[in-house]
Amino acid sequence: MPYFRRYVAVLLIAVLSLGALPVGAAQTAGLVSTQSALQADTASSDRQRINDVLARADVQKQLLAQGVSVDQVKNRVAALSDAEAKQMAERLDAMPSGAGVVGALFAVFVILLVTDILGLTDVFPFTR
């Protein structure tokens, strides 16, 4: 997979630097987009774009590994904003994922029962 990243990076650098030639002249005429104005605090825009694309590739890879189907993954990644893609690329494993089921053992049951009765948790519907 590092090969994949490197490959994408090289490809991107080539594409972007080629693209920069005509764009460079036109850019002075073009307005600053709302999106890039909002991201203004982050480094240079070219580097930013490379990172964004890499982050998306990363998220796509991770989602596929987590069992998301191949025909869905593209649309899912495309719907993410740059910031969201970056967030997911960096810490998908640590992210809380709403499931609505507790993955705990029986020993925990009693403790949660007490905290439920105290009104600190909302695990068992029958405590109210």
């Binding site: 993410l80 904003s81 893609a85 997911m88 949660l112």
Partner: protein, 344 residues
């Protein structure tokens, strides 16, 4: 070595009542600490008590959760609801009349599973909840993390999708639910949650579970509608994210609505200026950038775009003034402004 033991035993024998009393006291103190720590519900702002006493958005549909799929269920619930008209004036507001658009029958919890559920995680993550709403032509606005804001949204007719940890931080049980009603007198909320259509939960219990997600939640709105009470920054970000997916044309109505709802939000005017520019409405675009600079004179990028649009309109004096301003201000766009000024 044997000395302390009998002495201790003696002490016990001498005052068994004292020991029992101490034990009872200790238990009592512990219980008191535990209860006092959580007996008081979250304090609400005085303004919150001006809201209708009781609200329930009864025509929010219900999609019961299957297996671990509370994310798709909560999202389907929120997506299939068109907010009714705002009834803030009513003292006690009964459920709104069923009105609004037809349900999108294709959006069901089941159909959302391949879009927002991650099989390997047995759940759905927050960024994808927002992104999936975006795919269905809704803008997801994260709410302010307070119970006051939550109640105000419900009073405004917006159900709020919330993330909770129903269990304790050590054994998390992450859960998405939709808040559809509240009762200020009873201090309780009504949620569409899991397999329960009307889950009633006290403010206190709810806030304890909600606080564990840093009080994360969002409301959905169609383009062109801005829920009140959203922070300027979050509103701009949400519309900009929507625009990145659906194109600038699809976001125009939202920028218009946002500049009306938040006239002092400089970035809202900026976004509107860019949307008009995309439509070749240069005069309107220049006016919007003008308003952005009026709202925040230190927004260099707005001066820059104002200058560039004025240049295109042939208003060279105004263009120069705006670009000079942009070149003066210390921002990422200073360089670009200088270049534009040189080639003017």
């Amino acid at each position: 070595m044997s000395f302390p033991l009998p002495a201790k035993r003696d002490a016990h024998r001498k005052s068994p009542q004292n020991a029992r009393r101490a034990g009872v006291l200790l238990c009592g103190a512990l219980l008191a600490v535990l209860l006092s720590g959580c007996a008081t519900g979250p304090a609400l702002q005085p303004a919150t008590y001006q809201l209708p006493k009781r609200v329930e958005l009864t025509n929010v549909p219900f999609y019961p959760q299957e297996k671990y799929q509370c994310g798709p269920a909560a999202l389907a619930t929120a997506l299939n609801y068109a907010p009714a008209a705002k009834p803030r004036s009513a003292a006690v507001w009964k459920a709104p009349q069923a009105r609004g658009r037809k349900r999108d029958t294709h959006i069901t919890a089941k159909n959302l599973v391949p879009q927002v559920f991650i099989p390997g995680r047995d759940g759905s993550v927050q960024p994808e909840m927002l992104a999936t709403a975006r795919r269905h032509e809704r803008i997801a606005y994260p709410v302010r993390p307070t119970l006051d804001a939550l109640l105000a949204h419900v009073a405004d007719g917006y159900p709020v999708v919330v993330m909770q940890n129903l269990s304790l931080p050590v054994w998390p049980m992450w859960h998405y639910a939709v808040v559809i009603g509240y009762d200020l007198g009873e201090e309780s909320l009504i949620l569409r949650s899991g397999e329960t259509r009307r889950h009633r939960v006290s403010f206190r219990r709810f806030d304890a579970t909600w606080a564990r997600s840093q009080r994360w939640g969002f409301v959905l709105a169609r383009p062109g509608r801005i829920p009140s009470g959203i922070t300027p920054r979050r509103a701009v970000q949400a519309i900009s994210d929507y625009q990145a997916l659906h194109g600038i044309r699809a976001a125009l109505s939202s920028w218009q609505a946002l500049t009306q709802a938040q006239p002092h939000n400089a970035m809202a005017h900026f976004g509107l200026g860019n949307a008009y520019y995309e439509q070749q409405a240069l005069q309107k675009s220049a006016l919007a950038f003008q308003r952005a600079t009026a709202a925040d004179a230190a927004l260099g990028v707005a001066w820059l775009n104002l200058g560039l649009v004025n240049r295109e309109l042939g208003r060279m004096n105004r263009a120069r003034k705006a670009l000079e301003k942009a070149a003066e201000l210390d921002s990422t766009w200073q360089e670009k402004a200088r270049t534009a000024l040189e080639t003017l």
